[in-house]
Symmetry: C2
Subunit: 440 residues, 2 copies
Amino acid sequence: MTTGDATNISAAPSERVEVPTRWINAALDVPFELQPPLAPTEDRPVVVEDFEWLWPRECLEIELRQGVYGEEREIPIPPDVLDGYKSYRPTPLFRARRLERALNTPAELWFKREDQNPGGSHKLNTALAQAKYAADQGIRTLVTDTGAGQWGTALAFACQRFGLDCVVFMVRKSFDEKPYRRYLMEMLGATVHSSPSELTEVGRRVRKEDPDSTGSLGMGMSEAIELVRTTEDHRLALGCMSYYAVMHQTVIGVETAQQIALAGRQPDVLIGCVGGGSNLMGFAGPYIASLAKTGKPRIVAAEPASVPCLTSGDFRYDWADYNRTTPRIAMYSLGSDFQPPPIHSGGLRYHGKTPLLSALVHEGFIEARPLDQRAVFEAGQLFFRTEGILPAPESAHAVLAAIDEARAAAEAEEERVIVSCLSGHGYLDLAGYADVLQFG
Amino acid sequence: MTTGDATNISAAPSERVEVPTRWINAALDVPFELQPPLAPTEDRPVVVEDFEWLWPRECLEIELRQGVYGEEREIPIPPDVLDGYKSYRPTPLFRARRLERALNTPAELWFKREDQNPGGSHKLNTALAQAKYAADQGIRTLVTDTGAGQWGTALAFACQRFGLDCVVFMVRKSFDEKPYRRYLMEMLGATVHSSPSELTEVGRRVRKEDPDSTGSLGMGMSEAIELVRTTEDHRLALGCMSYYAVMHQTVIGVETAQQIALAGRQPDVLIGCVGGGSNLMGFAGPYIASLAKTGKPRIVAAEPASVPCLTSGDFRYDWADYNRTTPRIAMYSLGSDFQPPPIHSGGLRYHGKTPLLSALVHEGFIEARPLDQRAVFEAGQLFFRTEGILPAPESAHAVLAAIDEARAAAEAEEERVIVSCLSGHGYLDLAGYADVLQFG
């Protein structure tokens, strides 16, 4: 169900599945040392004071203390945020039996549905928290970048709920091709700019050098940062790269763990698509402790073959934004000046991956899998035909990886419990489906 | 929740709310005589043999026997259809507390969510049944007309599930302006034509007379009928005008009655938007018996002020299609050759209203309310901002009527339980929102 209010009768979630009241600080469960963020141009760890101008203070503290240095494994969710969660959580975990039958597999295919959330994706789980921190601190405006627009929509929704203004730099390719997502943000009162824009120095510079630039998430982030730097009471919001976003998203994994246990199952494999990495890490984060101890469950990160960050990038210190303003982060990266190919999964065109995910891939705990765009869209279509649910192109990466796992299980004649995160819906990505699958 | 499989753990609907196993033949509860359908050009009631070439036999029998002449009040739902229902039902009934707070009303605003169904609307409830009847009869192809595309999408989904081909005549205005809904149908394997088309005599005639014709639902129906008449193993499917569609939709009302009773409430008012009338009559149908006996609950039909069928049309015998091929039906009508204004609620541009609804309005049992397009879209925006749910423009009519009721309750200082049907989502109608509310 989507609106899991206590008065939502059909679902009566309170009898069975509780909306989690704590996030998991999964970095503590990692069985090796994580490398701290470094100052942008000096070889020393970042301290809170370096970036108070940029982030809401609470975000910064999570990023720098709880993420890498903190000691609390479970972080209480603030009441206002929990109240927001309860308006749409718990989200359903369902078994895709018709898809299983279509694949003739002995495997079980389970999907955690974040696609029915307000804004259409998992992103609201962190947007609500970031807006709440900002409102408490007296910040007036949150500024961000967005690719396909799922993050921008979630932030716009959270900002209007907490009485904040919202400014979004939307990657030009998506701005032009996905006007509907822009309309959604504007309906929620956000101001949306096509990035690179004429609004910032970095935007103007890029447009001068390359008038046809279709933009990138890193570039949008640089524009957002510049606006924050030059305007009072503005702060940055980040949808995925940050550790705090990962932590907020663990609400997905904590819920899933309850639900799959209620079904009498234990997951053999957890699968998610990765843009920055927050949906996979939020979904799989609560399982890191078990993974570190027992090697189970396996965790699979599905990424586009054309943005092969985890599968062909380098693990190194790099900036999160194009303009090299952010802390340097130990992560897999294709380079902060990476110009993504114009694939349709706007949310997966980012050059880096969140440090926790990167480190776990680097140390061999998480498997990364590059996927071909056409096969991804075909998987999305099959899912729509069998289950009546249209996944976002981003989420269709997880669907394809799940299908591949189910086929491997059939080959090995193995019963396998495959649990995947369906991070968003694809109703606003139909032009992409039509283009790749050549109909319309 | 959307996918109400028995294994959908978060919702566990089986413990509280059952998916109904019977439809309600609400025509039997009407406290006056209903007028039977008449032959297209002779003054005699239609018999099954007149139209076996046009409809699946089972549909025709419901239309002619159970609807007006039948004696069974509860009709068992066939197992295949019930199995289909169980993949997405029960749908949630939820209380819009944030909207209530925004309106500062003592009224309770409840909404029955059919927007998360596969296909994005209530239409699947009848599409599954019609496809099942056709498949049982050995029919190869179902042909239909669609406005905004919600019905076409539902039928395409049901057809591929039951192994049938699907041909859709889509009103030209929507075909041109809502390509995404067309893509959805094509992803599901349907063939979609812009209506009026060059494929039929009636289409060619209209195009010749008026090359700029934006089409109408009645015209699309005439094209569908002609294709059925001239092709073997093809039959007509209808999304709303028919009595059988109304009957199938009572699954909504039967579920709602269970849910609202579980919440310890009785509805004072039931509200739905009306195109042909199937969502309102399916939603309110199970309450007709009570309405006839006690005058409660009130039932409100929300229609566009620019297609004022119930509020300014005549109650008379008229044809359901432009070309006057269908039975003549006793209904409110703006005339079968009505050329609807190009409003954005493509599903509400139909010239007539289903006979049961028409008769109940005519006899004073159901109130009709004409609503202004701009106010409708503003209501949709407010609903999105407060509840995070984007209603289809059609459904936003119900939202506005509910808001008006809540305001009236505030004025009267009355606690009022207002229950409305949210028939579909608006993600594919954002161009309409942008146009009317002037953003983007």
